[in-house]
């Protein structure tokens, strides 16, 4: 049963990528809707399976590692697989209506979309360092292709910046993998973690260079400069995918590597450095979001800020009691989930607003509150989660991080959470102020179809409701992991 689920989960995106390459836009859209439903059902079934039976290792095609591919299916991985299915399906459905089928290049959205999905699933489930690299590269190539969809010069420029930054990041990560393999003779995360019993200079350097590469790929300040142009210029559903899921993949790898290696290598300084960079990202990203003239750049800079919170995991999980570390891990996981839902909702809503007012500028939103309340409402609901107000998922995440930072005696991270929340409120209200400006009586706006407006609303409501169901969501993360091997 579970091997069928795994095969379906990994095979569907790749098969659909090839299938959609052969089809025209509308046919590919129809096929993709079927694929998304299938993927959603498989993810749900796997999640339920793991929630009931506990996690397992899975050897692809029955080939054992190190030459075969070993996948680690645990509570965290299936949670993210399910999150990907949810956000991916929402963005896919939105894109099917949002993109204009009459432009010939739009049909390439679908193969790239499925490639991205395949890469994301590969990263969540990978059990060894090298497959994480392959998964990350698959994601990067698909994501760059999606950014450039449309092919105007500014999009190409943003895509090239993104590609070069991502390539530096991947190669730095791969160099770290080479050093670790030479040191421990193992590629699996578990094997490397066991090998790193004591601090060794080579392993410490490897950890440092891997975290550097992954931080660039996750757009951590000051390596964030590629993100706002790329996420700002991409089509709205693409930006939603990139901000919601893609940057999280690099962070997920960094967190997994850190939790295996960080404590063993006594890398406290690295943890604090990453925490400081994360805090700077929160402040600088929010400040820039407050100053951007274009709506989508506001949302893109807000991503820079929200990613900063994730990196508080590193100082809060090192050299602290087990319970505090667990609290920090849970807080960061919730932040990943709530930001994925809220930010994709926000980008989709922003896309709808831009479609309606036919301009990318914030001032152009004047009068929107009167004639297009629904999209603005979704935008605001997503904003509530980004600000971290109860009962949203963002609130639950920040609450856990706050508790962890106070319990570990590192109260200064709590100040970052506070400042970030205030600045987030400021940039969301700035959009609201612009949209409540009164205009002349007649309705000058294009009204997008209702289904386009419903999708971000659903995502925003999920982000808002996450705080209420945080307990059951987090309980899956702590499921027993037997370490037994299932293979077909």
């Amino acid at each position: 049963m579970s091997s069928l689920l795994m095969a379906g989960l990994l095979f569907t995106p790749l098969a659909w990528a090839v299938l959609c390459l052969l089809l025209a836009f509308r046919a590919a859209r129809l096929a993709s809707v079927i694929g998304m439903l299938l993927q959603m059902a498989l993810s749900l079934a796997l999640w339920a399976w793991v929630a009931e039976q506990g996690g397992f290792f899975y050897h692809l095609g029955g080939w054992a590692p190190p030459l075969g591919i070993g996948l680690r299916v645990d509570g965290l991985a299936v949670t993210f697989v399910l999150l990907t299915a949810l956000v991916g399906a929402a963005c896919g459905l939105h894109a099917g209506l949002y993109l204009d089928p009459s432009r010939p290049w739009q049909r390439y959205f679908w193969p790239l979309f499925w490639m991205l999905w395949a890469g994301l699933n590969a990263v969540w489930l990978a059990g060894d360092l090298f497959n994480l690299y392959v998964g990350l590269e698959l994601i990067t190539l698909a994501a760059v292709g999606l950014v450039v969809l449309g092919g105007a010069a500014p999009a190409l420029e943003a895509a090239l910046r993104y590609l070069f930054a991502a390539l530096i990041g991947s190669l730095a990560y791969l160099l770290g993998v080479a050093l670790l393999y030479a040191e421990f003779g193992s590629l699996s995360l578990v094997g490397v973690g066991e090998g790193a019993g004591s601090a060794s200079p080579a392993a410490s350097f490897a950890l440092l260079i891997m975290l550097f590469g992954l931080a660039v790929k996750a757009a951590l300040f000051p390596g964030h400069t590629w993100l706002p142009p790329a996420h700002g210029i991409a089509r709205a559903p693409v930006s939603a995918l990139l901000s919601g899921l893609v940057v999280k993949a690099a962070f997920y790898v960094a967190a997994r590597v850190w939790l295996e290696l960080g404590p063993a290598l006594e890398a406290a300084v690295v943890g604090v450095l990453l925490g400081v960079a994360g805090s700077a990202a929160v402040c600088w990203g929010s400040w820039q979001a407050l100053r951007q003239p274009q709506l989508k750049l506001v949302v893109a800079w807000s991503s820079v800020a929200q990613i900063g919170y994730l990196f508080l995991l590193f100082p809060l999980s090192h050299g602290v009691p087990e319970a505090v570390s667990l609290q920090a891990q849970q807080g960061v996981t919730l932040q990943v989930i709530s930001h994925a839902l809220a930010k994709s909702a926000m980008f989709l809503a922003a896309g709808n607003l831009i479609l309606s007012v036919r301009s990318k500028r914030v001032e152009a939103l004047a009068g929107v509150s009167r004639y297009l309340p629904l999209s603005l409402f979704s935008f605001g609901l997503a904003g509530v989660s980004l600000m971290g107000m109860p009962p949203s998922g963002g609130f639950a995440a920040k609450w856990l991080l706050l508790q962890a930072s106070l319990a570990s005696g590192q109260w200064w991270w709590a100040a970052v959470l506070l400042v970030g929340g205030l600045l987030a409120a400021a940039y969301v209200f700035r959009i609201y102020r612009a949209s409540f400006q009164e205009v002349e009586e007649s309705d000058p706006f294009y009204h997008p179809p209702r289904s386009l407006e419903i999708i971000p609303l659903v995502l925003a409501l999920l982000a808002l409701g996450l705080g209420l169901v945080a307990e059951p969501v987090l309980s899956v993360l702590g499921l027993p992991f037997g370490g037994e091997v299932l293979s077909p």
Partner: protein, 102 residues
Amino acid sequence: MTSALLYVLAGALLCGGGLAGCLLVRHLLRRLLAFNLLGSGVFLLLVGLPAHRHGSDPVTHALVLTGIVVAVAATALALVLIRRYFHLTGRVSLPTGRQEDR
């Protein structure tokens, strides 16, 4: 001095040169070449370092084969983007210092 050590040193040299190129060179094609140098350096290290420490190892060869495929794909994508960018704008390097206000 074993041959594996020679690969390690060559790999380190290529990595250093490639990284310097990535950061310093502005011309897009040259920067892409620098990336490929860096990549080749990493691959050499990936094969050479474990061989130097523990003897020859088939796993690293399989890894590098996969790595080369990934590198070729990334290079092809970058080339297409650079070519298109040149056709549209006539520029061979990305403009500097204006990222913030776009």
